[in-house]
């Protein structure tokens, strides 16, 4: 609204610009700093002598002959086999997202259409489950998983993450389905469809915006998880986040912090792309619960 902007006094404009500049610096600079630093040697990334070294790469020049080096990436991805963890992450995220969405759309649809009181109780139970810190559940899994030899497998972790994901997925899809008019599937049922046929032929074609948004958040949960994956996966099945954490324990003492730095950047890159392409869906998903009630 240009008319409103013109009426804005200069002090207010200055204040707004200052706030935005400070917030942008806080939000963006740590990432840019780490990205830039990941192509340097440790002596530059942590420079006691002069912080400008981290920008100019003085020691990197001395040690490797160039201003940038990919040694950190080589060490992490090839030497420490970070690619294996990356592949595990792809597998885990893919299955968690597909299974969560399949179960979630069925359940969320039923919860949105049912008018009985037990649907409300179901949602309330899901809300309580949503509040449980995942690590408290892990201490319930471990004795049973050890007993039945389920511990360490990727499949176990996928099932656990799907279950932990369900309350959130149900709530989100439930509110999306509420926005699809009930007349749509009811008229299909008047025409002779069963409930499932109505769902299959009428609802599925129009539900994709909600499903994509929910899928993004399921992906984030699986991708970002540390507590469950680190406790339930054996070291060869580890996903990226526990692998990054294991660098901290082992390689920091060896002076190979740069492995951790480069793997941190590698973990961030896909998230960066995801926000870039799906910004609108993420924003709508974050506000779905709040604004629509």
């Amino acid at each position: 609204m240009p008319s409103k902007a013109q009426r804005q006094p200069a002090t207010v404009t200055a204040l707004v610009i200052a706030i935005l500049a400070i917030w942008m610096a806080l939000a963006a600079i740590p990432f840019l700093w780490t990205l830039w630093g990941s192509f340097k040697v440790e002596g530059d990334f942590f420079s006691k002598a002069d912080w400008l070294n981290a920008l100019s790469g003085k020691l990197t020049q001395v040690e490797t002959g160039g201003r940038f080096t990919g040694d950190g990436y080589y060490g992490a991805w090839v030497q420490e086999e970070f690619w294996r963890a990356a592949w595990n992450s792809v597998v885990v995220c893919f299955f968690v997202v597909t299974i969560s969405l399949t179960l979630g759309t069925l359940g969320g649809y039923a919860l949105a259409r049912s008018t009985y009181r037990y649907a409300f109780w179901f949602l309330l139970a899901a809300l309580i489950f949503r509040a449980m810190p995942p690590i408290t559940l892990v201490s319930g899994y471990l004795p049973v998983f050890f007993q039945w030899n389920l511990w360490g497998h990727t499949a176990t972790t996928i099932v656990v993450l799907v279950a932990i994901n369900q309350p959130f997925t149900l709530w989100m899809l439930h509110s999306f389905f509420k926005n699809i008019p009930a007349e749509l599937d009811e008229s299909a049922m008047v025409d002779g469809c069963t409930r499932f046929q109505a769902f299959r032929h009428v609802i599925i074609p129009v539900m994709w915006p909600g499903v994509i948004t929910t899928g993004l958040f399921s992906f984030l949960l699986a991708y970002n998880d540390f507590a469950v994956t680190t406790m339930l996966l054996s070291s060869e099945n580890q996903t990226m986040i526990p692998k990054v954490a294991s660098f901290l324990g082992t390689t920091q003492t060896k002076g190979n912090v740069m492995f951790a730095v480069s793997s941190v950047v590698s973990v961030t890159a896909p998230l960066f792309l995801m926000i870039l392409f799906f910004q609108r869906q993420i924003v709508s998903g974050l506000t779905a619960g709040a604004v629509k009630g």
Partner: protein, 340 residues
Amino acid sequence: MKHKSFFWFVLPSALAMLLFIFLPIISVIIQSLHVDHEQVIRTVETCDLFGCKQSTTIDQEATAALREAKPLGQFAGVRTYLDRNHLAVDEVKSTWDGSKGWREFGSQMLNLPFYKAISFTLAFTFVVTPLVIILGFIIAVAVNSATRKIRGPLIFFSLLPMMITPLVGALILFWMVDARGVIGIALQHLAGNPELSVKASTPLMWIMLMVYGVWHSAPFAFIVYYAGLQTVSQDTLEAARVDGASRWLQIRHVVIPHLLPLTTFIALMQLMDNFRVFEPIVSFAASAHATSLSWAIFNDLGGETRQLSSAAATSVLTILGVAILLMPVLVRTWREFDRK
């Protein structure tokens, strides 16, 4: 929707939640009431030229057999809850009798693992949540008064701290405030103390963890408020302006009342999420200075000896904490549903 079709539609996700959320909670409660079997000790008498000696050995076979027969361990009641690593009833009592003032009592209590964890968890939750709400609101108002063209990029960068993996985001900040990192060096210059290190100081570590918490969660409050600001009635604002309300008065009397329902939503989500604070403590290697309930469970479960009973007891106490925090939400949701 018919009962039968409802049942079949929700069955898969109900089953998943029943098996992997509800039953584990029950399992945790049962586990917390048991402790490991003691090892079976056998006394053996060996006689030689110099006489007979009695020695004790661990009967591995009998121990294994006992564990096989009763994998839960032996029933211990609430003993685990009362021991030094949890509620520490005896220690608290003796500290209470022994200490002279509140200050001394408080500092003594912080040496007990459970109280150390819960005090940081609660401090974190109740410091970070209001700051997130205030900062998110300020950013939302600022972005809302920026030109439409740059709002997209502003939102993009604002989302970064929230979408980033908590463990990774905390590491990125930690490396910058390290004694050799760029912010760490700047702090040393500002304080005029070249030895200053966040890693070595408890208050600094608490502050850094909370700074991370605010940095990580402020975007969430910002996005929710920003969406709310789009639905503020322009007519009401216009009317306020005509009546001569200043910018501040417009915000105070039109915008803030409009956003109030969103504030309760943000506050409750934040209370739930901040109460489970865990990853930053791992990233910052902060356990010497600050621990949380989630970290305490993680610490019991990991390592060489998995202390399942101890972890289970802390888990039950954490779940109780969550339940207390969640009470207002449940009551509110319940009332809303009843009205409908």
